[in-house]
Amino acid sequence: MTEDSVGMNAMESKEELRIGVFVCHCGHNIAGVVDVEDVAKTAATLPNVVFTTHEMFTCSDAGQETIRTMIHEHNLNRVIVASCSPRMHEPTFRRVVEEAGLNRYLFEQVNLREHVSWCHMREPEAATAKANDLVRMAVARAANLEPLPIKKVEITPRTLVVGGGIAGLRAALDIADRGFEVVLIERERELGGNVRKWAHMFPGDKPGHEVLEPMIHRVRKHKNIEIRTGAVIVNFEGYIGNFEVEVSVEGLKKHKKYEVGAVIVATGFQPYVPVGLYNYDKSLDIMTLGDLQGRPDEQQFIRPSDGKPVRKVAFIGCVGSREPGWKGHEHCSRYCCSALAKTAGIMADRLDEVVILYQDIRTYGKEHEDFQRVARQKHVIYTKYPPDAKPEVEVNDGKITMRWKDVLADTDMEFNPDIIVLATAMVPPEGIEEVSHTFSLTRSSDGFFNPEHVKLNPVTTHTAGIMIAGAAQAAKNASESVIDASGAAAKAVGLMAKGAVEIESTVSRVIPDLCSSCATCITACPYGAISWDMSRDPHIAYVTEAKCHGCGTCAAACPSNAIIMLHSTNEQIMAMVEAYLCVPVATPGGGA
Amino acid sequence: MDMLLYRGCTTPVRLPAYEAATIAVLEKLGVNVIELKDTNCCGAQYVESMDRMAFASMSGRILALAEREEKDILAICGACSGSLKTNKHFLDHDIRARDEVNSLLAEEGLKYSGKVRVRHLLQVLAEDIGFDKIERAVVKPYNGIKMAAHYGCHVTRPYEIVHVDDPENPTILDRLVEAVGGQAVDYPGKTRCCGGPMLAMDEDVATTIGLDKIDNVTKAGADGIVTACVFCDIQLTQVQFGGGTSDRQKIPVLPITQFLGPALGLDEDMLGVELNKIDPHSVIDCCGVSQ
């Protein structure tokens, strides 16, 4: 880790405080409710405030220039902007004060918009009073702010890709092609994951292993990719840019250790095995779509039980998916409607009757509707069954009988197919709990990993430096998994190309003399950022700042009050409370 | 211009006023209407449902008759217009069918080769004559009387075959109403069927459908309805006389040419006004009256 002391030299500890307060109109957003001129005037009477003003749009170029100019003109060493939410413009204003030579942590933003004008729209007087309170509190806090060093961590230019399925392969190639090293680990002996096993893919016509062949070939030959199959992670630790992973590889006596800067988790899915549904376990002729796809082409038209030719096929959709109340099976598995349409269309040419029993038809993707149209043109019969009265299946002496009600024709149906093919759910693979624990990832109710934000950050996670891609994140088809993989790879490459990344200085810190080695904070930390500092005797708790998110849980939990939150110290917070409760007398020299 | 009038079965017997008014109005506007003789039923609905080739033959013969006269056909009934156009489309694209029909027509010395067009009355008024000419021919404009337009089904649908007006938002009748000084009134369900074809199979359903239209038109504040098909005209008139309608105010139904006639200065007698089951004087007396 390197430290960059921007603005540190500009501060001497006993220097006179010179606070500047910039109150923003935000057009009509704040000024329409809050009397911003009054707020600026009142701020001028507060202790240590040497300059106040009000601006129409502080975040604009003009507004930013004003801040820079006033810092120099009035020798300001603390800047407060009373405007929108810090979530909006804190980074902007921090950059502005830094450009003017001040440490960014000497800047404080007061939220007069989301917290005042937007929620107290009909009470302008009370809103203005609240605005004045908040500015007064911020001024008191600013007086206690300290500059903090800007820290950077270096990024090891190597990425660990966990999972050698289509997503992992794509990610590995994308990263390696840009000149970075990749370690690709796969727990099975072969690369290719689930795609390798499937005979009919969509939208193209090639079987899975043919689709993968060129990718696997390139991966094997790539000088930047090290492949470990039959590999299992035995240990993983570190923080962004500096992870250490220990892998046990089948056939090797010694474990392999790698240092990596980023991780992409592409552990995929497993197909749900519908034991107990539709008599799946009672007949070899009742199989999943995965089972069917795993059989060589010719074999797909032969009954597994007695070898007789298959003339009539029934497909059933939504097996083990979309079941309200059945945990882990409530989600739609997304791939199945399109896969069924494609498969049925291909097989229909050689069969007498093909029937697809569905709850809904979700052929949503590009060209997927065409699979349905082609299937129907080939006389595949689509029939809708009610979700609360699923088809009944009986097996007698090898003969299969199905009964269901066609909802749209309002007719009871009966059918004797030679085989039944069930489109079963995509569910998380074996061992996903260990993977989530290893990488500190959380999972949603469908059992798959959570991204950092489902819309805005779909491939990163809450663990900095660790990305997820493909079905590991949620049920999806192979094309979509590849998109994820390229996205995750871009994130990894972005990190590694920068070479180093700034980490927030608003982290927690253990005061060694006060620590009683109780380990409460270690357990409490949701990010696994606290560990033992073994160099001391007794051991004390130690925060890895690169992993810390500044949430404050440890500080709150510590029974010895041994942890401080930088930029949210007890003094800073108490100053705000006192300022709120006791309005200070207007001080001489504190007026602008 | 010359046009061959194909009357169909129903107009000459059940709504001769429509035939007379149409001839009078078109002649006034410069179209020479010639009677097409020796015709037969176009085959709509009944033969149509029984045998496709028989249907094509019946309409095909009418098209061949017009071809012999080398003039376009004017159809004033929606069903006839639909049949003729549909079968023209069929015979133009299916050589085998065309040969089969021609083999039946050969004996009479007739042949179908697709040379003549089929024009519905609305096409002739809107395209061949044009709204400008109609406006200029008005001598006694209406005083803004509110008329609801009912287009019927086969006049405007299916668009790919008939090519008359926008099927979801037709405007020809509305513009004709305005051209002679009336006010066109919009109403829900404007493009829906009148229910007429259902009379044969289920009279109750047919009446429900027809009365639904009358209700919508009445609620929209219309003083009268203009039509462009004989079946629609008869149906919308008839449903206002059925069971449970005695306390309703009856709303006059006029074929479009019967509505245009007075504004163009034509005498009532030429338009068959006394034959209307619902007296239309409340409408036509409004022409030439200042607003």
Partner: protein, 179 residues
């Protein structure tokens, strides 16, 4: 199709087959039968469906797709379409339920399933050449004369004789022999 009795109630159960749809597909007007994706816009647009619970175009098409041949051909359902073509105008997949039902009618007609009123109307047309010969009385003639219209309607009834021989005698024979 077979029936089974459960709890004293006769329920008819059908076996799905593509045979009927394949048959309809070959008849003029029925070509698009397999394009229907059962979206329901036809039924939503249908004035008949709006006026009576007996008629649902989407349901009928699904029955054809499922192969319920006997039920569809022997029911009145396909004859309840009044051919207004609203469904054809609105269908997004290029299906005309009206055309499909016309195709079904022609198949039904070949097998002798025709509602009485249609039979009679066709009989009249094939004899007279048009529908309303019997309704054209002196009264109507006078009305026409008063309007200055030609009272002679000049309708040809010979051509339809050829059509009857060519297209309908076979049907009649089929009907009479009960096949």
């Amino acid at each position: 199709m077979h029936t089974c009795t459960t709890k004293g109630q006769e329920k008819s159960i059908h076996v799905p087959t593509s045979a009927f749809a394949k048959e309809v597909e070959k008849v003029e007007g029925g070509e698009a039968i397999n394009k229907c994706i059962q979206c329901g816009i036809c039924t939503a647009s249908c004035v008949v469906a709006n006026a009576t619970d007996l008629y649902r175009p989407r349901r009928m098409i699904q029955k054809i797709i499922l192969g319920l041949r006997e039920e569809v051909l022997s029911s009145d359902q396909s004859w309840l379409c009044l051919n207004c073509r609203m469904c054809e105008e609105r269908c997004q997949e290029g299906v005309s339920p009206a055309e499909i039902f016309l195709a079904v009618r022609t198949i039904a007609a070949r097998e002798g399933h025709v509602p009485r009123v249609f039979k009679e109307a066709v009989k009249t047309v094939l004899e007279d050449g048009w529908m309303l010969k019997d309704a054209y009385t002196d009264f109507q003639e006078d009305e026409r004369e008063d309007l200055g219209l030609n009272p002679e309607l000049h309708m040809n009834n010979e051509f339809v004789g050829k059509l009857r021989k060519r297209y309908f005698e076979r049907k009649k024979a089929a009907e009479e022999s009960g096949s």
